[in-house]
């Protein structure tokens, strides 16, 4: 009688499964034991010769072994599949080789700064308004309470044009232009080119980009100006910025201020950037002068408001640590490519 040793069969099959290194070999093992002419089938066939009891006993054992081996082979199959992949993954790359950048252009730092400023003020409900670069004497000076033949006019070195216009020296004319056509309450910012007839050096330019702000309502105060300006600085420089107002003079505002922020470089202790003062002047501001309301055809006693103006170059220089204002309009790609 053939001795049916299922234990031995199990041992032998397990060993072969274990040593099968790839899917092909494993398939062979599977065929050998579980196939149509496999070992297990042979076992089951040989049962005919046995008694009913023995048949039932060995039959169930053989079926258990079949399930067991199926599982075993399947598990091993998963294993050899990953081994194959991991073999492929053993190829390596040098991750220190510089990446290949998709080529992209660059926006001008003043455009980027302008966007940031506009975004902050728009989120506070300010409308963006523009005005002409070629301006009349009326809007640039007279309407802003800067009388003819007055030394105050000398502060603005002006380019005059041969078409009875001048190049605006500030964006403030748009205050009057806008208030003539729009009744308060109003909140606007005015970005634009301004021109100053002066010699250039690392901190002076004859063409600049300015942003004007104007807020008018019944009860707008210096305290409100401080709140808006403070919020602007915090969002623009992305940190808490100490700032101060100190007395200044502009004919179109009363009172007038100069707005300075605490020097970033020395934290207000005094250094070469802030010329030892600890403060960096960034803007001029003040409460709209009654004559400006009058010249805008508004009744001064009904309205109060503030205005400010700052140079975008100045802000960009502080933000990006640019040391020469002439770089902005130099068209030098070594500069422009950095933004």
């Amino acid at each position: 009688m053939v001795k049916i040793d299922l234990k031995l069969l199990k041992k032998q099959a397990e060993k072969e499964i274990e040593s099968a290194g790839n899917a092909e070999l494993l398939n062979d093992v599977s065929k050998k034991y579980l196939g149509k002419k496999g070992e297990l089938i042979l076992v089951l066939r040989s049962l005919v010769k046995l008694s009913k009891d023995e048949r039932r006993k060995i039959g169930s054992e053989a079926n258990k072994l079949k399930d067991f081996l199926k599982e075993k082979i399947q598990a091993k199959m998963e294993e050899v599949r990953f081994t194959g992949i991991s073999l492929k993954e053993s190829e390596w790359i040098d991750i220190t080789i510089p990446g290949k950048k998709p080529f992209s252009g660059h926006l001008h730092p003043l455009a980027l700064t302008k966007r940031k400023v506009e975004e902050i003020f728009q989120s506070m409900g300010f409308l963006i308004v523009e005005g002409p670069d070629m301006e009349t004497e009326w809007y640039n000076f007279d309407a802003l309470n800067i009388p003819k033949d007055h030394p105050a006019r000398d502060v603005w070195d002006t380019f005059y044009l041969k078409n009875k216009r001048l190049l605006r020296t500030h964006t403030s004319p748009v205050q009057v232009r806008y208030m003539e056509k729009n009744n308060p309450p109003l909140r606007i910012i005015v970005p634009g080119n301004v021109f100053r007839h002066e010699a250039t050096d690392s901190s002076h330019e004859f063409q600049l980009f300015q942003v004007e702000g104007l807020m008018v309502d019944r009860n707008i105060s210096v305290a409100n100006l401080k709140a808006i300006v403070g919020e602007f600085f915090r969002r623009f420089f992305e940190k808490d910025v100490k700032f101060r107002l100190r007395p200044d003079y502009f004919p179109f505002t009363e009172p007038s201020f100069d707005i300075a922020i605490s020097c970033f470089v020395c934290q207000g202790k005094g250094c070469s950037v802030c010329k030892g003062t600890g403060w960096l002047e960034v803007a001029g501001a003040g409460m709209v002068h009654p004559n400006v309301f009058k010249n805008s055809k508004l009744v001064p006693k009904n309205w109060q408001g503030w205005a400010f103006g700052f140079g975008l170059e100045r802000l960009a220089m502080l933000k990006y640590k640019i040391n020469d204002i002439r770089l902005f309009r130099s068209g030098d790609l070594r500069f422009l490519n950095q933004f």
């Binding site: 670069d133 080119n193 007839h197 709140a227 109060q304 422009l336």
Partner: protein
Amino acid sequence: MSELLTKHFAEVEEIKKNGNDYIFDIDIRPNRASDCFSHMGIAREISAILNYQIKRFPSVKNTAGKQASVKVEVLAKSACPRYTARLVKDIKVGPSPKWLSDELKICGLRPINNIVDIANYVMLETGQPLHAFDAEKLAEGKIVVRFAKDKEKIVTLEDQKFNLSPDVLVIADSNHPIAIAGIKGGKSPEIGKSTKTIILESANFNPQVIRKSSKKLNLRTDASLRFEHGIDPNLTESAINRAAFLIGEIAGGKTAGSVIDVYPKKVLAKMIKLDLAYVERLLGIKISSIEIKKILERLGFEIKNSQSKIFYVKVPTFRLDVSLPEDLIEEIGRIYGYDRIPLVSPISYLIPAKRNLNVFWEDFVKNVLKEAGFIEAYNYSFFGEKEAKLFGYKEKELVQVENPLNQEYEYLRASLIPGLLKNVEKNISNFNNFKIFELGKVFKYPLIEKRQLSGLILDEEFYYLKGVVDLIFEKLGIGDVWYDEHQPTPEQSSQSIWHDRKCAEIKVNGKEIGFLGEISLKILSVLGIKNKVILFDIDFEKLSQLSSEEQEYRPISRFPSAIRDIAVLVPKDVKVAEILNKIYEAGGKAVRNVELFDLYEGREMPEGKKNLAFHIIYQVGDRTLSSSEIDSLQRKVIKSLEKEQGWKVRK
């Protein structure tokens, strides 16, 4: 002290130590020139900030009794609101004591002799310019204030000769001008070693008159600077007395009699009504009425009814800059300290800001160009004669600057192109290839000011930039774009900056919106640019008008498309557009798209021919086209192409 002045008054720009003293360089703004171009003015500010008392000048004694005085005649009354003079006798002219000449030097003045130095010193102290004449050198000992006569001349103390005109105010004796009023003394009555008797002048002049004279003669002095800004007419007397006192102390002079004073219309103090509620509303902080009163009084203002909520404030006459309640509020605010005002968010309607479409489309287009690899430049809004000529602008088309900074910037730019080509010149040594653009204003005479968009690429195909322009239009939602051959008039052609056979007019809805093409070699050679330059130049005002964010989704067809290729051999002068039109026409609705994928004009081609290859994409929206349908469409297309003279479809 410097901190306090900067915080409450005006910026101290520099402090220098000088022995035991400190020299402050203070940036006095024009509104305070009238009272603070003087040590007295600064002292008053300091006393107000620190609440200190201020010392008064010692009074002057008469030492020579009643004697003959000076005759003063003011003919130009409105130009000279006040003329104060004093006769000082028995003076000894000599060098100034050391302290005096030192002080002058520190303040940037040159010591001359004790009399002139005292006059200058008192000007620095009080802000009132003074002048001294040798009394014996005046014809008839008389002083006349009048406008100059035509062709009158004067030689100044510095030996400068001036031809005067009737709008220049002068001080004259009975014959000739002896000084340009408020600006400079004349040579003839100069104080010399032998001078014994002097006439001191302390006058007030109309600021506009002095400003005009000073501009006309191109002569600015410490005196004219002060007069131009306006001075309190009530200052003349105390200043002349101060000078007389010092002359008595230093040069041994005896002042004779009382002052001669021509002052027909005395200037009185202004009154301003100040509502304390307005002070609070404008500053955004409540300051007690007691504190407001104290601040104003420390600055020399007087308050009539300090119990009320409305003050009547008397303004000292030296504060020419104060005439409105807002002016007083500034005084209160700055002395109180702006740093003590809290940050309070404004209470206002919450209206979301409307979008500014100009700005929106600018940003949008800039982004498109940036993504296409372009670098943005900001160039100056000017160009020079050289560019004007080279780019063929006539002078009458351009806006000229009356006072240009230099020749390079004589005109407002009428185009962005010269600036961009300058960028090429500048960068070509560092970069061998780049794409650059600018969006900015251009100007034309008389009053045209509009935005333009221009960009260029180097050493690339025309079609590359055309693709960029197409991309811009596509992103801006502008359809119906057409490129037309530019047909310049003979006159235009000789001036044109474009290569006349490699240039297109860009049209939208049949209207010109810009140009695209190669820059003429003539221009490039003048500029010394060796690269090929392809440039687009678009009217941005028109472009942003046409732009639209509206876009409609076209459903993806459920039915597959089929692609058939076709290659056509055509004469060289046939345009791609002509072939495309034929294909679309013959294929009808089933032709979804036609793409040019190859263009060959090489040597292997038959003489005068070029080969073009297209993908034709067939698709319809309601069914799948069968291959026999497509074949028959394709045959139709081929037939239609081959109908043309000299066209051949290659099989």
